[in-house]
Amino acid sequence: MTAVLDGTAAAGAADARTLTYAEAVREALGQAMAEDERVLLMGEDVGVYGGAFGVSGDLFHRFGPERVVDTPISELGFVGAGVGAAMAGLRPVVEIQFSDFTCQAMDQIVNQAAKIHFMLGGAAHVPMVLRAPGGSGTGAAGQHSQSLEAWFAHTPGLKVVMPATAADAKGLLLSAIDDPDPVVVLEHKLLYKASGPVPEEAVRVPLGVAAVPRRGGDLTMVATGVMVGRCLEAAERLAGEGVSASVVDVRTLSPFDAPTVLREVEATGRALLVQEAPRHVGFMAEVAARIVESDAVYRLRAPVARLCGLDTPIPYAPQLERAVVPQVDDVVAAAVRLAGVG
């Protein structure tokens, strides 16, 4: 499946400019490349083709083949080349076409990039960014739809971000490129076409800081990636039913902004943790553990609740695919249940 974007920014007033998420990523790349000649984009079909999801767009024409580097289909090789290039003077942004294909490159991500700074006693850094679209919802089935963030967040030495908005897609990527350590940026395929206000300047969104896009009094939803938007939509509907919900967008899984999450959970006394990935040993299990091992546990009015993807691979049939991952209706139902407890 391929979504080709038209490559032009949505028109709008200067103070209310909107871009799609894909355009925001492209703008971040373009600004970083213009600022620092060591930044280059590498990956499959990122050149003239413009990226499988249209993310790199016109960057090839702006920066040329030395800066926007088409690679053969060989993830282990080119991710490893990214690691070496990062150690030896460049700031590569390596694109994995579907996050599922990181499996092919896992040695270089987990055994090399994540550990080099530590194992070499600080003698080297790996300032590499690995961008990879994840998530389901496109009918691409089991090998093109996974949410693998827990793998990366479980690996010491990797920073992991999941931007949920166009502005964060730009701002977090710029911070990731600045960072001296390897950062895995998990974009979401369904969000590429979503629009939102994005600052024109190269504004950094700091790594390790969660966002709180909505505050309410009855419960706190903690979400990642595409689930942030679903939680916001659910919160809107819940407001009509007299339930007032906060939404926390984790944004950075590693390092994890526990203080913000705990503060927001303490404020409402109820936590609904929402992720697209399967429940078992997922990232929200960690969030739940952080809540119950902190003083926030004494403020809970109800047990921590999780709403996650089912523990199955992602199926092809649209009705099956929808049934596997939380939808807005599921979030609303879970929130109503939770709000009625305690």
Binding site: F78, G80, A81, V83, A88, N111, M119, L120, G121, G122
Partner: protein
């Protein structure tokens, strides 16, 4: 412009004795490590390159100090040949805070960033894409530096080798791929693990030269490496250099050598690259006598003993600062005057 041809390492007294010193240093360092391990004074595991000293020495002597190498789990020799100091090396193996990796890496991850060593690697083939990426950085930044990837015969059956070789070829990167073919990937012989006769011919699949040399002849390795490095530096792309050699010791400390015969090992011990080069110097190098090579042996023995003594006396790596900040990177240096970028260098 290709570099002018260089004389053999055994061609003059100073170069010859310096080369002999490197060969003996690798040998004696590893013998000391073997001994410390046997006496229970060193923990972990060790992969010794005793018998393979000529490939590390011959290749690194063809490099400039600012060229880069990526090494293997059997990497003590590469580290020494690239110019590392013995005390922090020994300290790392002895789990000391003063070691190259402050006790976090040990033998399998030893690196000496200041001298262009990107690090040893515990994953077979893992360093090959990294060296190729380092070469990509040198090409793009136009530094004129070359990267060398050391790996064993076993690595050439890994996908990482093939993917990296292909990238190096299509991008014409300044990299030399050096295979130390010691005939066994742990216990699995090259005869059983590949259907082609030589590693060097694998280069044909990627469209660059593959060269096979006697890996126990430091002059031969040096000559081939010099040519490959010149080719890389001139922008003509990679070379695969197969150094045919042999490890006298087991794969690691747990190896009982069940897969090869005593006779085979003895046959290769007779081709000792160190004493072979020593004899060549005495017989053919102007101005070198028995007393000169004896002096080198004595000096190396003293240097290694001294390194063990100093490293033993150094403070142990301390769990109290395990999660503390590590020193700033050496390879990644901010350029330009942008204060924000300088700021993230830590």
């Amino acid at each position: 412009m290709p570099e002018p041809p260089r004389p053999p390492l055994s061609g003059d007294r100073a170069t010859g004795l310096a080369t002999l010193r490197t060969l003996w240093t690798v040998r004696r360092f590893e013998e000391a490590v073997d001994d410390l391990f046997a006496r229970g004074m060193m923990h972990g595991t060790m992969h010794l390159s005793i018998g393979q000293e000529a490939s590390a020495t011959g290749v690194c002597s063809a490099l400039r100090e600012d060229d880069l190498i990526a090494s293997t789990h059997r990497g003590h020799g590469h580290c020494i040949a690239k110019g590392a100091e013995l005390v922090p090396m020994m300290a790392e193996l002895l789990a000391k805070d003063t070691g190259y990796c402050r006790g976090r890496g040990g033998s399998m991850h030893i690196a000496d960033a200041a001298r262009g060593n990107l690090g040893a690697n515990g994953i077979v083939g893992g360093g090959v894409p990294i060296a190729v990426g380092a070469a990509l950085a040198q090409q793009r930044l136009r530094t004129g530096r070359v990267a060398v990837s050391f790996f064993g015969d076993g690595a050439t059956n890994e996908g990482a080798f093939h993917e990296a070789a292909n990238l190096a070829a299509i991008w014409k990167l300044p990299v030399v791929l050096v295979c130390e073919n010691n005939k066994y990937g742990m216990s699995f012989s090259t005869e059983r693990s590949m259907a082609v006769a030589t590693i060097a011919e694998r280069a044909a699949a990627y469209g660059f030269p593959g060269v096979r040399v006697d890996g126990n002849d430091v002059d031969a390795v040096h000559a081939a490496a010099t040519e490959a490095v010149a080719r890389a530096r001139a922008g003509e792309g990679p070379t695969l250099l197969e150094c045919v050699t042999y490890r006298w010791k087991g794969h690691s400390k747990s190896d009982k050598n069940l897969y090869r015969t005593r006779e085979e090992i003895e046959e290769w011990r007779a081709l000792d690259p160190v004493t072979r080069f020593e004899r060549r110097l005495v017989e053919a190098c102007p101005g070198v006598g028995e007393e000169d090579v004896a002096a080198v042996r004595d000096a190396v023995r003293d240097a290694v003993r001294d390194a063990v003594r100093q490293a033993m006396a150094a403070p142990d790596a301390d769990p109290a600062d395990l999660l503390g900040d590590l020193p700033a990177a050496v390879f990644w240096q901010p350029v330009g005057t942008d204060a924000r970028r300088e700021g993230v260098a830590r």
